[in-house]
């Protein structure tokens, strides 16, 4: 058996995809990117191609609101709903390594986030100003990396707490926007700022600004993603299903 198949289980992946994209959950996953693209098209026809407008919408709407929201839905939905209804027990009873389950679910969550958040961000950038100042590529790359980190963090939260969605949203909305604005130091611990640091590197100078340096951002991004995945796998090894409060 190759190393790749040890960490990736196609059956678990298929089940996770169906949990994420089945029924009404898919509705919100499709609606959000569609909204972004519609707004981009409307703004383009209203005001023509403009780099500062594009940058404003891509950072303010796409990266600050849509990417975390999709990340929360994909990350917690990948495992949270199974923990919630107790069907995770049947999965854990199978001879599949816990770390394999986590890595597979993480890969699926990343796939869904990239497909539903990062790709639309890139396309919105193209619609808004046709990659002027490399904005579309910059924000696309930033959104991919943010999706990676968000998926890992929210998957971890999904294993740790039953209130993962709320905790995730509190982090994504309160910490990154409200506290990040009041206490500048808090921005160092913001996934959004790490992603912006990469966007700053990719885009033309002066087009995007971030409050975190690129090396710090990359190191933190990688550390958080790996640490969250490792802890999630570890937590799953000794998981007890608590009753509803």
């Amino acid at each position: 058996m190759s190393a790749a198949s040890v960490m990736y289980n196609p059956t678990v992946a298929r089940l996770t995809y169906r949990a994420l994209l089945g029924r009404r959950r898919a509705l919100i996953l499709f609606a959000l990117p569609l909204l972004l693209l519609v707004i981009s098209a409307a703004v383009r026809t209203l005001s023509g191609a403009d780099d500062s407008t594009a940058s404003g919408i891509l950072s303010g709407f796409a990266l600050a609101t849509m990417v975390p929201l999709i990340g929360v839905i994909a990350g917690t939905g990948a495992i949270g709903s199974e923990i919630d209804d107790g069907s995770l027990l049947y999965l854990l009873a199978k001879p599949v390594k816990r770390s394999t389950i986590i890595v597979t679910k993480l890969l699926v969550a990343i796939g869904v986030s990239v497909g539903f958040a990062a790709m639309p961000t890139f396309f919105a950038g193209l619609i808004l100003d046709g990659n002027g100042q490399h904005l579309a590529v910059a924000f696309g790359v930033a959104a991919v990396l943010a999706s990676l980190a968000y998926s890992a963090i929210f998957l971890f939260l999904g294993v740790v707490t039953r209130h993962a969605v709320v905790v995730g949203l509190v982090y994504a909305l309160l910490w990154e926007s409200l506290i990040g604005n009041l206490v500048p130091g808090a921005r160092t611990l913001s996934v959004q700022q790490w992603a912006l640091a990469l966007a700053q590197k990719v885009a033309d100078p002066g087009a995007v600004s971030s409050s975190v340096g690129l090396p710090t951002a990359v190191v933190l991004l990688i550390c958080v993603t790996l640490a969250a995945t490792w802890f999630a796998g570890r937590r799953l090894r000794s998981l007890t299903l608590a009753g509803e409060e």
């Binding site: 009404r24 959950r25 919100i28 609606a31 959000l32 909204l35 707004i39 409307a42 703004v43 209203l46 005001s47 403009d50 500062s52 407008t53 404003g56 919408i57 303010g60 709407f61 600050a64 609101t65 849509m66 929201l69 929360v72 839905i73 917690t76 939905g77 949270g80 709903s81 919630d84 209130h163 993962a164 969605v165 709320v166 905790v167 949203l169 509190v170 909305l173 309160l174 926007s177 409200l178 509803e244 409060e245």
Partner: protein
Amino acid sequence: MPREAFTADAAPAAGVTPDASRIHDIGYRHYGGVRLARGYVRRSLYIQSLRGAYGLGRSAKSKILPMILFAVMCLPASIIVAVTVYTHLSKLPLEYTRYAIDLQTVIGLFTAAQAPQAVSRDLRFKTVPLYFCRPMERIDYVIAKYGAMASALFILTGVPLVILYVGALLAKLDLATQTAGFGKGLLAAALLSLLFGGIGLVIAALTPRRGFGVAAVIAVLILSYATVSSVQAVAYGQGHTGAISWLGLFSPITLIDGVQSWWLGATSSFVSGYGPPNAAVGVLYLLVVLGLIAGSFALLMRRYRKVGLG
């Protein structure tokens, strides 16, 4: 010998008596109290739901989040009061009506976290049919849940205003001005609570899954604002200032902002304060808000017409 045979033998011997069956009094104590009716059920459910929104009567874990959000909501008000008192300002640095608009993320999170808590669990554990076994009607359930959610939100938005008002009076600011501003703030907070509570409950009542309900409510409340405000900023940048007030009709918090800037004389938080330009647009804002409140009540009523079955 089987029991049936014995009774079958005994019955013909006794002849056909019209009331052979009766309920035997086997000595249990009778209920002699007052038979409480629908009103009591409604009130109990209301109080239980309202306490539940703040985690009271539930586990310690469920108290954490609502209490943190409540504290986050009150903290800025306390800071503003402290600053006003110690620096001897002649007026509060913030309008009463502006407070909820500035902290809308917290209100949105509270709605998203607690609206599914109020209705989704009843659906998921199929307790709704048990409620309707009691002498309560569909409308009682909806009124109790909607009322509790709106009251919880009104406490969340109203208490900071009370802190501001008391602080303003302690700082010896003008009584009449402050009372008027406080009253307007409370009125706007009541409208906001009804609107947010209604939207939150309607979305939450659609799904028995709590996590999904939370995400859906937050998507509607926060994302619609993000959309509206970014498009408003673009419209302002392009000089289409007339469009700004019309765009405000498309998200809950900008609706409240529009209503209070036209009706209550508040400063609009739209870009450069482009609120509703005239009374007609202002009335339209108010009508849309009232329509949404009535609409969410009607949708909830419709939702519970056939419930517990799917």
